[in-house]
């Protein structure tokens, strides 16, 4: 582990509230290359607090890349320049001494800014509440091995279910599309036998909610997959489209 500290100029987006006008504020910091971006911000905030100034508001929780709370846009990339890496796992050794770094919130109309680097991603919860579940009451489940599921189906379902709901896909997309996120959710259930009874209603309910909340459509630039910290595949978007079109023919209930 290296110990030579590096000097950086940070340009951090400051914005008091959703309606206020925001702007970049510059800070000079000296930081250990072993620190993560978020630990660098912790140190900066401790300094600002000592000076009686307003610390930079940002969110994080697990700092292991799984909870999906963090998600800063660093030098134009959601979660920064390293592929398949969440902001909390991005260490300063990936930057050069003397570099200038731009740190912004995720920008998308359905994710309004709350303060500084914090955005409101509750739209994701609303989409999931619309249909991302299997209607099954506790206590009525058959034995877990009663329905065999092929290893391939289970693995593919888990590939989709690994989505951490951070919103990077939306922030990366020029259309603010949430189709990678919704596609991942729809795929997880569509690939499993347990997901079949509500398969076609689910996809319709979720797509309608997604549109209603102002997310855009996919125009196949694949920026979402490139920026996704879990590497969720765009094939989930293709599946979402197939499921949605099939639903128009096969669903017993016309939702959309």
């Amino acid at each position: 582990m290296s110990s030579e500290h590096i000097n950086l100029a940070l340009n951090i987006w400051r914005q008091k509230s959703a309606d206020a006008k925001g702007s970049f504020e510059e800070f000079k910091v000296t930081v250990s290359p072993d620190a993560s971006v978020l630990e660098m911000l912790d140190e900066l905030n401790n300094r600002l607090e000592k000076e009686g100034k307003d610390p930079v508001a940002f969110e994080s929780d697990c700092r292991e890349g799984i909870c999906g709370t963090c998600g800063l846009v660093i030098n134009g990339h959601p979660h920064g320049p390293l592929p398949k890496t969440a902001t909390c796992q991005l260490h300063m050794r990936n930057f050069k001494n003397g570099e200038t770094i731009y740190i912004e919130p995720m920008r998308a109309k359905p994710f309004p800014i709350i303060k500084d680097l914090i955005v409101d991603r509750s739209a994701f919860d609303k989409i999931q509440q619309a249909g991302a579940f299997i209607s099954f009451n506790t206590g009525s489940a058959p034995d877990a091995n009663a329905i065999p599921i092929s290893k391939e189906a289970a693995d593919n379902s888990l590939d989709a279910a690994e989505c951490i709901g951070c919103g990077a896909c939306v922030a990366a997309c020029k259309n603010s599309s949430a189709m990678l996120f919704v596609g991942a959710k729809v795929s997880q259930y569509a690939l499993l036998p347990q997901g079949q009874p509500e398969r076609y209603e689910r996809v319709q309910e979720m797509v309608v909610k997604m549109d209603e909340l102002g997310f855009g459509n996919c125009t196949n630039t694949y920026a979402c997959e490139a920026e996704c910290p879990k590497g969720i595949s765009v094939s989930n978007i293709a599946r979402l489209n197939r499921e949605f079109i099939s639903a128009r023919f096969k669903s017993n209930k016309d939702v959309a």
Binding site: C62, R63, C67, Q129, A141, P148, K151
Partner: protein
């Protein structure tokens, strides 16, 4: 006057839960919608409880300080979840899972609770599969299992290294279904700050709306806390940044007794601390100890690089001291011995880290073989440290990881405060003095899906379904109490930041109330924590306002509570003059340096009643073992 009644049902161990389910009163289906239930915390325990209570028809209000219910720290659990399915035909049974859990907890948990946990473990797996949790499968389509520490059977179900995430998303999806159906309302970005008692019963909560700083009041006929553990009292732990003890602690100050606070688990295989700016510690799965060999230089303050230290100048201390189990000794033994060698100055470069070396495994199965088994863990290590573990041995050090202690609950998971139920890591009930791997997820979901839905009905059937006025006197008083604390914190204009005080508290605790404890050290810790608490309330600087988003204020409130809890942990550890599980008292060890349990004097739960800051009264709940024989753990 508090009297702790564990309310363990009569009858044979295996029939207690079945009999109890029948003898409990039920609320009729049409009446359930007249009852409001508050659930604080939306991790495995909270989300599963909220979902199931919603399904039953209760009106549930679920609170979380996260922006979304899906972010709770249950999500970070890697390894898996135990169940006594016996799908491997390897002689597993409910009784075996019960026995392993009781023994793993070093005979300091309640038999009846642990047996019920083992009993419902199978239902949990059924339930999660039905919800669409994509567990690992065999090629034939059946569920796969892996082995975990402390068990001789293969009973752990998993979803890659992301089991916690998948189980949490399952519980969250069930809860979302109830949101859509109108039975559950979720209140995100709300932090619990006080419990409201009306005529001695828990009937409401005060929360801070983290977006605008308003203190809001909510009422119900019962309150459930599922707010997790308190490892962050050490500042550096594997817990998430926001994990805290505030909900449990403020309930404790309203009368709920806090049980066994000194039982904390320090996980041996975590990444070492890199510097003062570090914010948390990262766990590496302990499966690494299957193939990695742990060693330190024989000489103190040896600054040579690992490849320059010849074989005969290395001390493989676990293999030397525990030839039978070697590097696979239980978590507490591995952690304690790492501390000892580092205390002697024999850590890496004289610091606080030991080597976890895979050279032998590279020779035996090749680098590709190691990559197959542990590739993702090696990647995590390289990502965080910037060092390639295929070339240079890993460095590891123990870190606080889980807390077995928590609010005292009876068999029904109700605290000694009527109407206040406590689930998951926040209660003390199932893991005794040490938790086995893959048992935390099991307990959270057992409590939420399969225990509370029954036991809360038994309680509510004695409560009239009359709406509780959230503007009543008790609520106004509690609200004022909260506002007073907030204003007091904001008036602090000293020189130190909240984090600085928190780090100092962490240093005291990890040093004196961590892996190894002594009467002398504990007394010093109590004195130092009292002084630090004084310093906190005079010399901290808390910036910002009450009526807005203020993360500094959030942290300050949590640290204020940690400063009180830290003292109680030391008080409890001082009282327990024996060594058991995660609690090791240096005065009580065998001649060979192993933990010495004192069953004649300490086979009890220590439940502490809050009197005032720095003053508690001890209540003891005697533990009775009728189905297992108390044995001494040996790993030689």
């Amino acid at each position: 006057m508090i009297k702790l009644d564990p309310k363990v049902p009569e009858g044979n161990l295996a029939e207690k839960w079945t009999n109890h389910k029948f003898s409990m009163k039920v609320v009729n289906p049409a009446n359930k919608r007249k009852y409001d239930i508050i659930v604080v915390g939306t991790g495995l325990a909270g989300a599963s409880a909220a979902a199931t209570l919603g399904e039953l028809g209760y009106k549930v209000k679920a609170f979380t300080y996260h922006d979304s219910a899906r972010r709770a720290h249950s999500i970070a659990a890697q390894g898996g979840i135990n169940a006594a399915k016996n799908y491997q035909n390897d002689a597993d049974s409910v009784f075996r899972l019960f026995y392993d859990t009781i023994k793993g907890g070093d005979f300091r948990s309640r038999e009846a609770n642990v047996y019920r946990l083992a009993e419902v473990s199978n239902n949990i797996i059924d339930q999660c599969v039905a919800q669409g949790v994509p567990f690992a499968r065999e090629y034939g389509g059946t569920l796969a299992n892996r082995s975990f520490g402390g068990a001789q059977v293969s009973r752990t179900f998993y979803a890659r290294g992301e089991t916690g995430q998948q189980l949490l998303l399952g519980a969250y999806s069930s809860m979302n279904r109830q949101v859509k159906l109108g039975n559950v309302e979720v209140f995100p970005r709300r932090e619990f700050l006080d419990l409201v008692l009306v005529k001695g019963r828990a009937q409401g909560i005060i929360v801070r709306n983290l977006l605008n700083g308003e203190t809001e009041t909510y009422s119900a006929q019962a309150v459930i806390l599922a707010t997790g553990g308190y490892s962050n009292v050490y500042f550096l732990s594997t817990n998430a940044m926001n994990s805290n003890v505030t909900a449990a602690w403020r309930a404790h100050k309203r009368g709920a007794t806090f049980a066994n606070p000194c039982y904390t688990q320090i996980h041996p295989t975590c990444l070492p601390v890199h510097g003062e700016g570090q914010s948390k510690l990262v766990l590496m799965s302990e499966s690494l100890r299957n193939d990695g060999r742990i060693w330190v230089p024989k000489k103190a303050k040896d600054n040579r690089l690992p490849n320059q230290i010849p074989e005969d100048e290395r001390d493989y201390y676990l293999e030397r001291k525990y030839p039978a189990f070697g590097n696979l000794v239980p978590r507490d033994v591995a952690s304690r011995n790492a501390k000892y060698v580092c205390d002697e100055g024999r850590g890496v470069g004289g610091g606080r880290a030991v080597y976890l070396d895979f050279s032998d495994a590279f020779e035996r199965i090749g680098k590709d073989g190691v990559k197959d088994k542990y590739g993702n863990l090696f990647d995590i290590y390289a990502n965080i440290t910037g060092v390639d573990p295929y070339e240079v041995p890993m460095q590891i050090y123990p870190a606080p990881h889980y807390t077995m202690g928590g609010l005292w609950v009876d068999y029904n998971l109700m605290s000694n405060v009527p109407g206040l139920f406590v689930l998951g890591e926040a209660n003390f009930s199932d893991h005794g003095a040490n938790r086995l791997g893959a048992s935390a997820l099991m307990q959270g979901l057992s409590d939420g899906y399969f225990v509370i839905p029954y036991t809360i009905g038994n309680y509510l059937s004695t409560e009239k379904p009359e709406k509780v006025d959230p503007n009543g006197t008790e609520f106004k008083d509690a609200q004022n109490n909260v506002k007073e604390t907030v204003n007091k914190l904001l008036s602090l204009n000293g020189k130190q930041t909240v984090d600085e005080i928190h780090k100092r508290l962490g240093h005291i605790l990890i040093d004196k109330v961590g892996m190894s404890r002594s009467g002398k050290g504990l007394k010093e810790a109590i004195k130092q924590i009292k002084e630090l608490r004084e310093e906190f309330w005079t010399d901290t600087k808390v910036v910002g306002k009450a009526e807005s988003l203020n993360q500094t204020l959030e942290r300050a409130g949590r640290v204020a509570d940690f400063l009180e809890l830290g003292e109680l942990m030391a008080v409890d550890a001082l009282d327990r003059k024996e060594s058991c599980g995660g609690h090791f008292r240096e005065e009580y060890q065998t001649t060979e340096g192993e933990a010495l349990r004192r069953d004649d004097k300490y086979t009890y739960v220590a439940a502490w009643e809050y009197k005032k800051a720095g003053n508690w009264k001890l209540h003891k709940e005697a533990l009775h073992f009728k189905n297992v024989k108390l044995a001494t753990r040996s790993y030689k």
